[in-house]
Symmetry: D2
C-alpha cells in the first residue's frame, strides 16, 4: 500500500465520533464500517472542494465503487474520536481513486485504504466522462 | 401491547441466525436490528402469501412504515438462531399493521412489536389504495 | 404519543447529516436508523449533562433498551441535515425514559419517538439502581 | 487479484437473499455490505468444517481482520438471491487468508475479494498460534 497521502495529493480531514451501532461484539469498530468512514471522508473532501455528491447523483453522475481495500492496524472503541484523512490519489477520464488514513485522536493510524470509482450514468453501468467540475478535486 | 398473534390472525415464521454485524459492544443484538428482523419477517410473510414485495415496489406501490414499536424482553447473542413470527394485525383501504414476536430456539420471547404501514405511490407521499392481491395476506 | 418535549422536561439537540449508508432503496432514511439517531441523541444529551455513557458502561452500569417506539411523519434524503431533539421524559429508581423529535433543517418533524431503559449490571439482566450522577440528567 | 478459488483450495457456499436494509439509494447493495457477506461466508465455511467461530471467541481466540479487499463487478438488487463462495487461501501459524466470490443466481460474479486474519488473544492485540482444530479448514 502506498504511503498516505499519495505524493503531491492534497488531503482533507473530517472528525467523527464512533457510534454505538458501529461497534461489534469485541467492543471495537466492526471492520466494514471503515468503508463507511471512507465514504464520509470522500463526501466531505468533495464538499470542501465545492462539489456536493448528492447533487452529482441528482444530475445523473454516479461514482460507483469498483474496488476497495483496507489495512486494519489498531482498534478503536465506542465514543472515541477519530479523524478521517482523505486524498485524491488519481483521476482519469471516467475514474477516480481516493486514498484514506483513519487515525485516533492521538494520531495513531487505525486503518488505511483506497477506493476506486467509475463514473456511470443513470443506468448504473455505462461509464461516462467525469463532469468537468470534478477538476476542482485536484488541488 | 396486544398478545401475539392477534386474535384470528394467521402467522408465518422465518428462522434466522444472528450475524456478527448485528451484535453490539454488549455482545447482544443491537436493538434497532429487531426492526430489520421485523422487515424480513413481513417480507417472507408476504412471499408465502404469494406477494413479492420487491415486485410491488417496482409497480409503484410502496408500503412505507408510519410507526413502529418494540418491547425487548431478553438478549440474544451472535450466531444464535432466532425465529421471527409475523402476523397481519389489521388491514384498511390504504394501510396495514403487522405484529411480530421474535423467539430464540427454545421458544423464549426476545422481542415483540408492531409496524404500521401506509401504501403510497412513487412520490412516497400520497396514500393510495392497497393493490387487490394484498387481500391474500389475510388468511 | 405525548407532545415533545414532555411538560417540564429540558431538551438538548444535536445536528447530524444523513449518511449514504443510512438511506434505503427508496432514497430516504431507512426507518430503523431513526432508532440509531435516537441513540446518538441520548448519548449527546447525557454528555452535555456531564455523563459519558461509555464510562458508565465501563463501570458496570448498562442502560439496556426495554422498549422503543417511533412515528414516522416525513422522509429525509441523503446528505440532508437533521436535528435530533432529546428530552428526559421520566426517571425511576432503575429506569429512564427518553423522548425524541427529529426535524429537518426547516423544522419539519420527520420522526417522534421514545425509548425506555432499565439499568442493569454486567450480567445484562439484573436491574440495579441508577448511579447517582444520573440525577444531573434531570435539569 | 488471484482467480477464485485459489489453486488447490476447497470452497464452500452459502445462499443469501439481499435484505432491504442492505441496499442503498441507487437501489443496489451498498458496497460495504459485501464485507458482511464475506463474514457470513467464512462463518459458514468454518461451521461446515466443524468449527463454530462463536465458540472460538468464547475460548479466547479472536480472528481479527487485518486486511480486506474487494472488486465490484456487477450490481445486485433487493430480494435477489446471491451465492457466497468461500475458500481458504492460506494459513500460517497465527494467520489466515480467505478468498471469496459472490455471484447472483445466474452465476454472474458480483464481487470478488479477500480478507486477512490474525489470531489474537482476549487482549485483541497479541498474536497467538491458531488453535489446532483450525487445521480442519484446510481440506
Amino acid at each position: 500500500m502506498t504511503p498516505f497521502p499519495p505524493a503531491g495529493a492534497a488531503e482533507r480531514t473530517v472528525r467523527l465520533r464512533v457510534r454505538y451501532d458501529e461497534v461489534d461484539g469485541m467492543g471495537v469498530v466492526h471492520h466494514p464500517n471503515f468503508l463507511v468512514y471512507f465514504e464520509i471522508g470522500r463526501t466531505e473532501y468533495m464538499r470542501e472542494a465545492g462539489v456536493r455528491y448528492a447533487d452529482l447523483e441528482r444530475r445523473g453522475f454516479l461514482l460507483v465503487v469498483t474496488a476497495a481495500s483496507a489495512r486494519y492496524l489498531a482498534n478503536v472503541a465506542y465514543d472515541d474520536e477519530i479523524v478521517v484523512r482523505t486524498a485524491l490519489a488519481s483521476m482519469g477520464r471516467a475514474s477516480l481513486r481516493f486514498a484514506y488514513a483513519i487515525e485516533d485522536s492521538k494520531g495513531r493510524i487505525l486503518c488505511e485504504g483506497t477506493t476506486d470509482h467509475c463514473c456511470v450514468g443513470p443506468d448504473k453501468k455505462r461509464p461516462i466522462r467525469l463532469p468537468p467540475e470534478l477538476a476542482r478535486l485536484k488541488r
